[in-house]
Amino acid sequence: MKRLFKRFFLRPELSAIIILLVLVVLFESLSGRFLTVRNARVILGVLPELGLVALGATMLMIAGEFDLSVGSVFAIVPMITALLARLGWNIWLAILCALLAACVIGFINGWITLQFAIPSFVTTLGMLFAVRSMTVVISGGFPPPFPENAPEWAFTEQLGIIRVSILWFVGFFVLATLLLRNSNFGNWMYATGGDPAAAANMGINTHRVKIVCFMMCSFLAGFAGLIQLFRLKSALPSLGVGLELEAIAASVIGGAALTGGIGSALGAVVGAALIRIIDNGLVISRVDANWFQFAIGFLTIAAVIFNAQLRKLARGMKVSV
């Protein structure tokens, strides 16, 4: 029994799940309209965008780095897609090229960080500005029109209570979970983030592991941007402004450690869900929406403290797992 508790307390996403349940009860009792099909539909419609970015950010954080440029990548991928479509490209080819560009940005982030041994905070902060600027420049100041006969069915079509985007989100979540928990590459990610020197001593090519994670993170941010393009039907150069901080907040709330080596895909999903639920819950409970950022800020700090305390509690339990 005690053993079970300890295992449970050591899960990185535990505190986020507890907070999630508390908030669901709170918002439902405040508004009486939170737990309705209609509201679930609203939340699930917007969740995948932040969720996918958080998923990538969490995986990168597990490998010991992080990425502030995700918000800009989130904008440039829809922009490239729409521009190429306007030039008469096949829409699928345009999407493929745009996602490839995202991977290249991720590669550059990783390569510069590792080659020059500078903090990824600096590299990706620079990339945040550079890519945002590129997005505005290539747009020519006017957002390109949303491609005609774009395949909405593949991204955002409403299917009853859910949109297709949720299926993508669930798919990527399952893939990320398998990668982290059940693959050898996941083992290398945790080792690289947990102790890069020890991982290297065991023959892990930590640079390669990190670069792949940078690329996955950028890819998912771009893919999320694509989903927003299809939902809003407009490739604005300002998409995803501030998203990097929400994504990092989601990862951290979900139990990922900024120092690397700790985190889970489920944590990223719960962290992102929490942010979207607070956003939505405040509105339908008729709380002034300007409190949203306050709530996220408070929650980020509280979740990390809560997590640390739970871990300490678990460590103190004199029982082996």
Binding site: N182, N184, N187, Y190, A197, A198, R315
Partner: protein, 248 residues
């Protein structure tokens, strides 16, 4: 050639310099099957550089390394491990945030299937073999799922040694394995090391503590300022001699 006399590792005239300063100056070093060699010397004597070359962290700038009579180029830790040389570093042997089972198999995971080197772990095999590996070095184990960060320093050394034994290493390099350990745990680690030979494993034992070196080693190599200044058979020397060499 009689295989019993072919050295497991032979270094000839090894040289290494960092920004113009010698870290190793024409060092010869030999390790035979079934022996434990102690490597002693002050900080900056070249011990670390020597083991870093043998474990694939650095390439030498001059000289050559032979493993079982063959000239080799150990350009990465993977190559060293493939040659049967396993190094247990003082601080960076294990990832503390990971479980024992996962630590044992970092980089050498048993797989169910894989494509191009990446695939699905065989986790039940990992856990089972972790339990066996640890039992084989006489460590009272908790579950293979326990985090390495929760173990004591001595237990951690034990797990690292278990890992090396599990992968049938021929040479185990131990970097200050008794530092920061309690007396009881130190004795345990020393016992591990002295039992290596029963399992046909040779060892290189680096330590500041000459008493520990004397307890487990057959030969002692003394280094200073990047050079080998003495090589002594334990039975023909004593602790005072070594101390005098080190203080000189």
């Amino acid at each position: 050639m009689n295989p019993a006399t072919t050295p497991l590792i032979e270094c000839k005239q090894l040289e290494k310099w960092y920004s113009g300063v010698y870290a190793l100056k024409k060092v010869d070093f030999v390790l035979y099957p079934n022996e434990v060699v102690g490597l002693v010397g002050d900080n900056g004597a070249g011990k670390s550089t020597l083991i870093q070359i043998l474990s694939g962290a650095h390439l030498p700038d001059g000289g050559e390394v032979l493993v079982e009579g063959q000239t080799v180029r150990i350009h990465s830790p993977k190559v060293a491990m493939r040659l049967g040389i396993e190094t247990i570093y003082q601080y960076t042997a294990m990832v503390h945030t990971m479980s024992i089972a996962r630590n044992i198999f970092i980089g050498r995971e048993p797989m169910r299937w894989q494509v191009g080197g990446v695939g699905m772990l065989n986790q039940s095999k990992m856990r089972q073999e972790a339990v066996t590996a640890i039992r084989d070095v006489d460590l009272e184990l908790r579950s293979p799922d326990a985090l390495v960060g929760e173990l004591s320093g001595g237990q951690r050394q034990g797990v690292a040694i278990a890992r090396a034994m599990h992968f049938k290493s021929k040479v185990l390099i131990l970097d200050e394995p008794t530092n920061h350990l309690s007396v009881k745990e130190t004795n345990k680690v020393l016992r591990f090391v002295s039992e290596l030979k029963q399992q046909q494993v040779s060892g290189i034992f680096i330590s500041h503590n000459i008493h520990h070196v004397f307890e487990v080693c057959d030969r002692i190599v003394v280094m200073a300022r990047g050079e080998k200044i003495a090589e002594l058979v334990k039975d023909d020397t004593d602790i005072d001699t070594i101390h005098r060499l080190l203080d000189a």
